[in-house]
């Protein structure tokens, strides 16, 4: 890529970044300009991608099929036959546009109903796949199989047979951790009962404990997401203060 173009591209990117960042200070005309520019470009891009990346490969190509013609022998081979039935999707999709019609707007619910129908049917299909293994995974054993040591011994450098033996055992420290796991999941589940009143000290206590444990989990998620977000910000700073400044000084040597 040639240098001038690269510099122009960088500069525009830097201005746009600053434009959007300006909303951190307050909403100004400067921000408004870049916001609308962004929305316009994004809408235009979606219209391009609509055909290029979705309708053509997902619909048109599959509907019409494709043929390869050999350069030499001129014999054509069918790569993929055309599935004519996809043609029905066009009228059905177009019905969605009747949402603006006063008289026939009910027809727009047909494509919407189909989309929602597929989604709903899938819920029945995927429930077990998604949660079955997790239900089993929550049934952790809590009775240690050995009391030779409180924690799992350090195995590096041991004979493989001994390592395998240790790996197959449940040590007390793990058993305690597993018990905490089971208590946590049961307490947190109890927080999500809606249809009956929680009475009595035990149930109320479990409910509160469940809420605290949930908050603890949320805190952990919060903490572990922070790094990725800060890196993005640091990279933007590097984009402006390192890359753009470098390229600018390359383009205008002696300028500053």
């Amino acid at each position: 890529m040639n240098e001038q173009f690269y510099w122009v591209k960088l500069t525009i990117g830097v201005i746009a970044t600053i434009g959007l960042y300006s909303v951190l200070y307050r909403e100004t005309k400067f921000y408004r300009f870049f916001e609308h520019l962004f929305l316009g470009l994004a809408a235009g891009f979606i219209l391009v991608a609509l055909w290029k990346e979705t309708l053509k490969p997902l619909w048109w190509d599959k509907m019409t099929g494709s043929v390869t013609i050999d350069d030499v022998t001129k014999v054509s081979t069918i790569d993929q036959p055309g599935f004519w039935i996809y043609g029905f999707l066009l009228p059905i999709g177009l019905m969605g546009y009747l949402v603006f019609s006063k008289k026939h707007n009910w027809m727009s619910r047909i494509p919407i109903g189909i989309i929602l129908g597929f989604w709903s049917g899938q819920q029945v299909q995927i429930w077990w796949n998604r949660w079955g293994a997790q239900i089993y995974g929550s049934m952790q054993p809590v009775w240690p199989t050995t009391t030779d040591s409180f924690t799992r011994p350090y195995t590096e450098g041991m004979a493989p047979a001994d390592q395998a033996y240790i790996a197959a055992q449940l040590y007390p420290s793990q058993a305690i951790s597993n018990l905490i796991f089971v208590i946590t999941i049961l307490a947190a589940l109890s927080y999500f009962f809606f249809s009956f009143e929680l009475k009595g000290k035990f149930l109320k206590g479990t409910n509160t404990l469940g809420r605290w444990l949930l908050m603890l989990g949320f805190g952990a998620i919060f903490g572990s997401t922070v790094m990725a977000r800060f890196v993005l910000e640091i990279d933007r700073m590097s984009y402006i203060f390192v890359e753009w400044v470098d390229q600018t000084s390359k383009m205008f040597p002696g300028g500053g």
């Binding site: 962004f38 979606i46 969605g96 049934m139 249809s195 009143e197």
Partner: protein, 323 residues
């Protein structure tokens, strides 16, 4: 076969859950005043709208950036209730969508609400807007709108991803009352940190039952609770039986073979080798009864099926295209 190759257990279990939900919906028919636990965020809806009305500023609603599915539909169900109150007070509303299909549904829903309230003259077509399908363009557009219109109350309910915090903090900056909830667990902590009221987990799904007290919805909620009881019960029994079984001595162990080029995955039992230190061999995780229920034991014979073959299709050549 699906219910043979991955076990009958899960089909039965799923059908049990389906039965619980449908049975309770049926049972609840015609009943009134059924108990639903208080959900803090939802009591605040009226206050939030009241405040927006006093200040003469709009109420903003965002049904997430997900596709059209039950999550966005549920968000719109809650928004329909919000709009009902707003229509009574004559408070202006803004509903921003990031998906065209959701936009179509939202358009109709909101119009229906105004119509049902007899306030159709107050309905503004442009109050329901499509902003952008692109995640961060949508974020930029909505933040701009929050700032410009100084929204007094904001509702962020649905599938939110990284943009959740952009919305929540922007709305906080203009002093809006915020009620939020995301089915994306990873985003919930950000809402908790930045918003006034947060619907956690399936409080989001329980919300419409709580707001409308419709028998169908409350019934379904009771069914969900039954299902949760079953899960609690299973985990409770499971951790006890699993703990006991891990102490049983065994001389066979289960091996699960991966799929290869010519055979599907299958399981077999092989004798175990005794430990070198002479201690008894105890059952491992994969040898327990429960593990077998969740990971059915499929023998090699079961996965080997012989069917006659269709003759090799002739190489297909197009007749018209070549010339």
């Amino acid at each position: 076969m699906q219910y043979l190759d991955t076990g009958k257990y899960h089909v039965l279990f799923t059908l049990l859950l389906v039965f619980f939900i449908l049975f309770n919906i049926r049972r609840a028919k015609g009943k009134k005043d059924m108990f639903v636990r208080r959900i803090p965020g939802l009591n605040a809806i009226d206050d939030a709208i009241g405040r927006a009305t006093e200040m003469g500023r709009p109420v903003l609603m965002v049904p997430g950036i997900g596709e059209l599915n039950a999550i966005s539909v549920q968000a719109l169900n809650i928004f329909a209730q919000v709009t009902k109150t707003a229509a009574q007070f004559g408070t202006p509303i803004r509903l921003c969508c990031a998906n065209a299909a959701v936009f179509a549904v939202a358009q109709e829903t909101i119009r229906d609400v105004y119509q049902a309230q007899g306030q159709i003259e107050r309905y503004d077509v442009d109050s329901v807007r499509f902003i952008s399908e692109r995640q961060f363009a949508f974020a930029a557009g909505v933040s701009g709108m929050i700032h410009r219109e100084q929204c007094a109350a904001t509702f962020f309910l649905g599938e939110f991803f990284a943009e959740s915090l952009i919305f929540a903090e922007t709305a906080n900056a203009v002093g809006a009352i915020q009620i939020a909830g995301s089915t994306q667990t990873v985003q919930t902590p950000f809402f908790i940190a930045a918003c006034d009221y947060v619907l956690i987990g399936d409080e989001f799904y329980a919300a419409s039952a709580f707001l409308t007290r419709e028998p169908v919805l409350v019934g379904s909620l009771i069914g969900q609770d039954w299902a949760k009881f079953v899960v609690v019960f299973m985990i409770f029994c499971g951790f006890i039986t699993n703990s006991m079984e891990r102490h049983q001595v065994t001389d066979m162990k289960r091996v699960d073979n991966d799929a290869t080029a010519d055979v599907e995955a299958f399981s077999e039992m092989v004798p175990v080798e005794p430990w070198a230190n002479g201690k008894p061999v105890l059952k491992r995780r994969a040898d327990t009864w429960l593990f077998r229920q969740f990971n059915p034991f499929i023998t090699k014979e079961q996965v080997t099926v012989d069917r006659p073959l269709e003759p090799e299709p002739e190489p297909t050549t197009a007749t018209g295209g070549g010339s």
